[in-house]
């Protein structure tokens, strides 16, 4: 079921709902051109709410500003215009407490072993060592890495290293987890397994999760809602409600609605992808 086009040309929006965890109002991002090059309007205007405790995926053509959207929500970059609120507090210039980001690239620190990598965030937050130890043990167990706590990232596969990064985020106990194509560099089988891990993580922690992904399948299988973005400058052309229960899993792919949702999203994305390629 579609809730229709959320972001028309303007930036007007309905007032934030009570369960809004993150609220974006008229957010745009323009990158200034360097050495005489033209400015790049990468994003927006975008207005939407992330609901507390939902798993929200963002799909869109390459270069449409998905990662920029994540960066402005995380406070890793400032929006050019508009307002971003996390738990009612304005996000500006720095990552708010309670937010964790897992990046597409391997962000494990090669000089630290798995345990210390996972503990890194907790230690930076000033959590006492005993508590960090407990959280790390739990997170590594949850991610199936308990037997590798003394290993270094160089000794792990790409999927395991990404799990180390997710474990590091878990140790922070974030209320909002932003995942920027974290499985993008992984093979298909590992991707599917990591998708299941993400669902497990979401159910276990109760965090709000925003997942940026290239994969329509992944978005449809994992999400409560899917934001479909236009070609650059990226705006939401649709936000699709999947209607899955919280206990969903790989068997959800057998539901007839799974294929319908895939077709619907691909129908919307195809035109935008052609635009992004310069063919439309």
């Amino acid at each position: 079921m579609s809730v229709g086009i959320v972001e028309p040309a303007g930036a007007t929006r309905q007032p934030a709902s009570d369960d809004a965890h993150v609220t974006l109002t008229g957010v745009t991002k323009v990158f200034a051109g360097r050495d005489g090059a033209q400015d790049v309007h990468a994003l927006g205007p975008v207005s939407f709410d992330l609901r507390r405790g939902e798993l929200f995926s963002v799909v869109g053509p390459s270069g449409c500003g998905k990662s920029t959207l994540l960066d402005v929500i995380a406070g890793l970059t400032n929006a050019t215009q508009g307002d971003i609120q996390f738990e009612g507090q304005r996000v500006a210039g720095e990552v708010p407490e309670g937010v964790a980001v897992v990046f597409q690239e391997d962000a494990s620190f090669p000089w630290l072993n798995v345990f210390d990598n996972a503990a890194f965030g907790g230690r930076q937050m000033g959590i006492d060592e005993a508590e960090v130890g407990e959280r790390v043990s739990y997170a590594l167990g949850f991610m199936g890495l308990s037997d590798f706590s003394k290993a270094y990232p160089a000794q792990l596969s790409g999927g395991m290293r990404q799990r180390v990064c997710i474990a590091r985020a878990m140790v922070q106990r974030p209320r909002l987890m932003l995942l920027d194509e974290p499985f993008g560099a992984l093979d298909q089988q590992t991707r599917l397994l990591m998708g299941e891990e993400t669902l497990k993580l979401w159910r276990e922690t109760g965090s709000t999760i925003m997942l940026i992904t290239h994969s329509i399948d992944e978005a449809v299988l994992l999400s409560d809602r899917i934001g479909v973005m236009s070609a650059r400058p990226g705006c939401f052309i649709d936000i699709v409600e999947t209607g899955w229960t919280r206990e969903r899993g790989s068997e959800t792919a057998l539901d007839p609605r799974y294929g319908q949702l895939q077709s619907q999203i691909w129908g919307q994305l195809r035109t935008e992808s052609l635009k992004a390629l310069g063919s439309a």
Binding site: A74, E97, V101, P110, Y152, A154, L156
Partner: protein, 256 residues
């Protein structure tokens, strides 16, 4: 206990074989045994030098000069590398100078350094410093530039300030390159200081080798040379081993 690797065995074999060949060549008269004494006699001379302690003052003078030069080059080279990474305009200005630095025969500056520092050890220390600082700065710059952006973004995500990011992320991330810089700094400092003593000074390890050479005191000359080789070789092997361990931990060995 791990078995020694084949390359290591071959390396040791090559060194031992060369020494034995020189020993035989010298003793058999294939080469002049007066101008090239057998390695066993070099060893005896080296032991004698150490037990007599006649050259201890010179050895300590060279070591302290090299240490001072290394410390200065490491500190200023590291800070210089960080500064160049932070200031790309400055880097564009000095890049060609850095690239051509080692084309300059640094010893020609010795008279100028004497004018600046006077007739003492400082001109030699300055030679060592000038010869090695660029290696340290360039390696630091390389290391800092190669830090994956995602690691710095992770630091920002964890709300780490600039000092903490430098200490906890930038420094460990660039450590293998910084360490290579330290290794080169030690090597270059020794080359400059021993070379400077040999050619230009009136004291120190290099000067004593030159003095023995000029007086046809071959056992002393070879003994001092052997001591120098063993010392520099040992230091270099230790540094190489630490460097190897630093890199090894970071090399991807992804399982199938």
């Amino acid at each position: 206990m791990a078995r020694p690797s084949k390359p290591l065995l071959l390396r040791v074999g090559l060194i031992v074989g060369s020494v034995l060949l020189l020993e035989v060549a010298s003793r058999a008269g294939w080469i002049d045994p007066v101008s090239f004494i057998p390695p066993s006699e070099m060893f005896v001379a080296a032991v004698q030098i150490l037990s007599d302690g006649v050259y201890n003052v010179d050895i300590m003078l060279t070591l302290s000069s090299a240490l001072t030069s290394v410390l200065m080059a490491v500190v200023f080279g590291f800070l210089g590398g960080l500064m160049l990474a932070k200031l790309p305009r400055l880097r564009r200005v000095v890049d060609p100078l850095l690239m051509s630095w080692y084309a300059v025969p640094i010893f020609v500056f010795y008279p100028m350094l004497i004018v600046i520092f006077g007739l003492n050890r400082w001109p030699l220390i300055a030679l060592g410093f000038l010869f090695s600082i660029v290696a340290m700065a360039v390696n630091t710059l390389n290391g800092v530039e190669r830090i994956p952006l995602v690691q710095l973004r992770t630091a920002r995500m964890l709300r780490m300030g600039p000092v903490r990011t430098t200490l906890r992320v930038r420094l460990p991330a660039s450590l293998p390159f910084v360490f290579t810089g330290v290794k080169l700094t030690i090597v270059y400092s020794f080359i400059a200081i021993i070379g400077g003593e040999f050619l230009l000074s009136g004291a120190g390890f290099g000067y004593q080798i030159a003095f023995a050479y000029n007086n046809f005191d071959n056992p002393t000359m070879y003994g001092l040379m052997l001591l120098l080789l063993v010392f520099v070789g040992t230091v270099n092997m230790i540094l190489h081993s630490v460097e190897h361990r630093l890199y090894q931990r970071r090399v991807m060995k992804e399982p199938a």
